[in-house]
Amino acid sequence: MENFTNETIDTSQLPKFEEVTFTKLHPKYIRVVLISLVRIIAIVVLIPILLSMFKPELFSGRVWLILGILIPVFSIMLVVFSIIGFKKKGFAFREHDVLFRHGIIATNTIVIPYNRVQHVALHEGFISRYFGLAKIEIFTAGGSSSDIEIPGIEKEQAENIKQLLMGKIQKQL
């Protein structure tokens, strides 16, 4: 390792990770996101409604009013952020590494070189499966913060990507 010199490399000539074009998630995936959101919102909305019908004395009128305003605002924000979040997500497979971009307020880009991948998993959620989508999970030795989860990929394509990744891992060491 010590005799590994790289003086001659011009850093401006290196392939730039920030200029990679990212592939968007499958358009159908937004439905999966929305359906799971509807489930959450339904619970958040239904419980107070039921309570207000059967036990209105639980809170004072003012609290009910605040709840009545906050819950719809919260729900709408949740939906808006999820849609933006979906649009911001993107992935790219380069020759030597995999990139995943996500984040609403901050743009986060995580890069994992193939020769650092430990194992790969293919996850199909209950709703995703209905739409024929799957999630690829790529694990490294760096703990959970350095793992990539790419949702919303067509099952067949996901299977191919997994195969490609496994091939890349094998070649590298």
Binding site: M1, E2, F4, N6, I9, T11, S12, L14, P15, K16, F17, E18, H96, D97, G103, I105, A106, T107, N108, T109, I110, V111, I112, P113, Y114, N115, R116, Q118, H119, V120, A121, L122, H123, E124, G125, F126, R129, F139, T140, A141, G142, G143, S144, S145, S146, I148, K162, M166, I169, Q170, Q172, L173
Partner: protein, 504 residues
């Protein structure tokens, strides 16, 4: 021997029972408050409904565990050299593990598994401490066979590992034979004891004084008549004296406890070299010994504060790559009270050269503003809000506010001033801390993954953050020059991807 693992297969059919008990356990854990209530209200409950309910629950769990059993398969893909586990009833997961990446295969038996007579097989790869694959119910012969097959491909690796274990076993003997090249003297340990753990000391002081003050307050409240007389009397004569004495007393106690703790833990600290590895042994009552292999080292941290600098001592922390839970606790190794020359010789052994600080990056002043907002602004707002709307009594404690603002402000300011990232061809060094200033040193080839992050309103300002993930933890640097950071990321990626460097 010769079981066929090439076809997807299920666990032992008796495994349904294991699944049943585990699922039952899971539900019981989640629903225990309800169960407790039922037990207390046992007499009031309609017995017929209870039995019916119980039957439904048990049948339900039975069906779930049967489905789990049906949907859990594992097989060895000989062609691609992979071990593949499929599981999940509604949410399906297919995990593929390269055989060459498998570090450990453990065969365990829990109480329930013992009752039923099956074993559990865990597959573990490097890094994360969670198990990558677990088969809950498998017969012993099959488990052994599978373990053999899983580890078959890595004869080389297992050879290294046996060497390693034998090294660890004979560590003690070896140590006697090898002449230690660094010994940490009793005096150094005393110095460490006196100069470290100020945070804890201050916290203790604060708690101590707040309770004392509280007691005074209560005393006053109960006897209003005495309050004024006593208050003025105490004010003038005793308070200052008592406070000064108790500060000195408390400092003394904390120092003594600290010194005793350090001496007990690190007495007779010896470091020896052995085939390029470091052998450490220390401890007063029970001598601990550990081994550091340079190639396994992920993050090396050098920490010192102002007093330690004056006394010429520093502390080294070394984080090794972890695999499996057993090593987790052993993985952080501390070397207290080294001198500078000792530090250099240890670093030389770990890195083959003394780490150099190259290009220096400093965070943008917005980082200071943000951390002051988080640590001073928000708590102050909360304080005001509670005071106004909930408990006006809170404002009696207003005198704490300026003290808090000054102390926290100073800490945040020094944290900001000391925060730096040094980038050299062979090293990345992150400096941080307010009082105890630490330098985290990593080599670029230890990086597992890189995350870059930028807030959208920082795009024009050209500032952004970076996190370097290693098998020993993360190194993060916020709000630096994003252009330079991105360039460095490209360079590090290039270096990692063009060489098959061994990171552990």
């Amino acid at each position: 021997m010769g079981a066929d693992f090439s076809q997807p297969q299920r666990q032992s059919s008796i495994g349904i029972l294991v699944m049943f008990f585990y699922t039952l356990q899971q539900y019981a854990r989640a629903l225990w408050p309800m169960i407790v209530i039922w037990i207390f209200k046992f007499d009031e409950i309609n017995k017929l409904y209870l039995t019916l309910g119980m039957i439904t629950v048990f049948v339900g769990i039975g069906v779930v565990s049967y489905l789990k059993y049906l949907n859990f398969t594992f097989f060895l893909d000989a062609e691609n050299e992979e071990f593949i586990i499929t599981d999940g009833v509604f949410n399906k997961t297919k995990t593929a593990i390269q055989l060459r990446k498998i570090q450990q295969v453990n065969i365990n038996q829990s109480f329930i598994q013992k009752l039923i007579g099956v074993y559990e097989l865990d597959v573990d790869t490097a890094g994360s401490n969670k198990k990558e694959g677990a088969i809950k119910a498998i017969s012993h012969e099959l488990a052994l066979e599978l373990k053999f097959r899983l580890l078959e491909n890595e004869t080389i690796k297992s050879e290294i590992r046996t060497e390693e274990t034998s090294l660890e076993e004979t560590e003690q003997k070896l140590f006697e034979a090898v002449h230690p090249f660094i010994k940490i003297s009793f005096l150094s340990l005393l110095k460490v004891g006196v100069t470290s753990n100020y945070g804890r000391t201050i916290a203790l002081l604060v708690i101590f004084f707040s309770t004392i003050y509280e007691n005074f307050q209560n005393f006053g409240d109960e006897n209003n008549v005495y309050k004024e007389e006593l208050g003025s009397y105490i004010d003038k004569n005793l308070v200052l004296q008592t406070i000064l004495i108790s500060i000195a007393f408390l400092f003394g106690i904390v120092l003594v406890i600290n010194v005793i703790r350090i001496v007990f833990k690190y007495y007779d600290y010896k470091i020896a070299r052995q085939k390029g590895s470091l052998l450490l042994s220390f401890g007063l009552l029970n001598t601990k010994s550990t081994i550091i292999k340079p190639e396994k080292v992920q993050i090396t941290t050098v920490t010192r504060n102002y007093f330690q600098k004056k006394m010429g001592i520093l502390e080294l922390k070394i984080k090794q790559a972890t695999s499996g839970e057993k090593e987790e606790r052993k993985s952080i190794i501390e070397i207290p009270g080294c001198s500078e020359t000792e530090r250099d010789s240890i670093l030389k052994l770990l890195f083959h050269q003394i780490p150099q600080k190259g290009l220096m990056l400093q965070p943008n002043f917005r980082k200071l503003i943000f951390s002051i907002f988080l640590s001073i602004g928000l708590p102050l707002l909360g304080f005001l809000a509670i005071g106004y709307w909930l408990e006006a009594v809170f404002f009696e404690y207003s005198y704490v506010v300026p003290v808090y603002v000054v102390i926290i402000g100073l800490i945040q300011y020094f944290k900001f001033i000391n925060n730096r990232l040094f980038i050299h061809d062979n090293f990345i060094i992150k400096q941080s801390g307010a009082w105890d200033i630490s330098n985290d040193i990593i080599e670029p080839n230890k990086i597992q993954a890189i995350t870059t992050s930028q807030l959208f309103w920082h795009k024009k300002l050209n500032i952004g953050s970076i996190t370097l993930h290693t098998a020993g933890g993360n190194i993060a640097f916020q709000l630096g020059n994003y252009l330079i950071l991105k360039q460095q990321v490209n360079l590090w990626l290039y270096e990692i991807e063009t060489s098959d460097s061994n990171w552990m």
